[in-house]
């Protein structure tokens, strides 16, 4: 047959047209997606863009920090920066007067000083019994219970020197008393 079958032609051209239309739609959508990605890239809106490289860089940094012996952390470093950016020396360096012996003591060394000063330790106690007790007795209006003041903490001692000895006496019954 020399004449082309009209039905065939129209259906095949229909199919052609249909495919062509579909292709058009697809192209438009592809351009949309490409344009969107392009915009995100140019504006730097993709938060995960450099994720892998960032991770690698951070882990490399961390590894360097760990391997470096000079950065050994807070225990050894003298000047640590806290969250406000302030540095504190490892030993508190404010100086004030000890209320017991009247010496100028550094705040960071106050507790050990008091141990010796008030006689908590073994060595100090023997020494203190003779010299400090006399001073305590004078301060506390001769309350015999004050002998035990050397074994109590500084709080009750200061109360002794200022306040009623009766209160101090009660307190001693609760405190750790040791017979000389």
């Amino acid at each position: 047959m020399s004449l082309p079958n009209e039905d065939d032609m129209s259906s095949s051209s229909d199919t052609q047209i249909t495919s062509h239309i579909f292709g058009d739609l697809l192209d438009s959508i592809i351009v949309d997606v490409a344009s969107e990605c392009h915009r995100i890239a140019k504006l730097g809106l993709d938060r995960n863009f450099e994720e892998d490289e960032e991770e690698l860089r951070l882990s490399a940094q961390a590894r360097v920090r760990v391997a470096d012996p000079s950065n050994s952390g807070e225990a050894n470093s003298k000047y640590v920066v806290d969250i406000f950016g302030q540095t504190h020396p490892s030993v508190a360096n404010e100086v004030f007067e000890c209320m017991n012996c009247g010496r100028a003591i550094m705040a960071g060394r106050f507790a050990p000083h008091l141990e010796k000063c008030m006689g908590k330790g073994r060595k100090a106690r023997a020494k203190v019994t003779r010299s400090s007790t006399a001073a305590q007795t004078r301060q506390s209006r001769g309350n015999p219970a004050s002998t035990y003041s050397t074994y109590s903490n500084s709080n009750s001692t200061s109360r002794l020197s200022n306040g009623t000895s009766g209160v101090a006496g009660e307190e001693y019954s609760n405190g750790a008393l040791e017979e000389p």
């Binding site: 239309i21 579909f22 697809l26 959508i29 592809i30 490409a34 969107e36 140019k42």
Partner: protein, 111 residues
């Protein structure tokens, strides 16, 4: 500055005056006028997002951009990157659905 989009030059009005609109063009005009083209586009877009096709294409773009550098990429580049893979990876069911709808439209306009 390099243009991000390569736009074909607008066809000269004089050129087209002698030609008869092709069947294809007529159908295209009908598609647009009736709003069917818009509906078909929305349908296709929705289907492609659902099946993850769009995410795949975006991943391709991101990989390409990472390789080439953010500031050296044009929209054209991305289109060329996506088009072959994009056309090939359309799920058959989606393609069939769209073709079906287009054919139905052609029939309804009795062309």
């Amino acid at each position: 500055m390099r243009k991000s989009v390569n736009r074909p030059p607008t066809p000269d009005v004089m050129e087209n005056q002698g030609k008869e609109p092709t069947l294809q063009e007529l159908i295209n005009i009908e598609l647009i006028d009736s709003g069917e083209k818009e509906r078909l586009m929305e349908l296709l877009r929705e289907r492609l997002i659902e099946c993850g096709w769009k995410d795949e294409m975006k991943a391709l773009c991101r990989a390409f951009i990472k390789k080439k550098g953010r500031n050296n990429v044009t929209v054209d580049d991305l289109v060329h990157v996506i088009t072959p893979k994009g056309r090939a990876s359309i799920p058959d069911s989606i393609k069939a659905e769209l073709l079906q709808r287009i054919r139905a439209f052609l029939v309804s306009t009795a062309l």
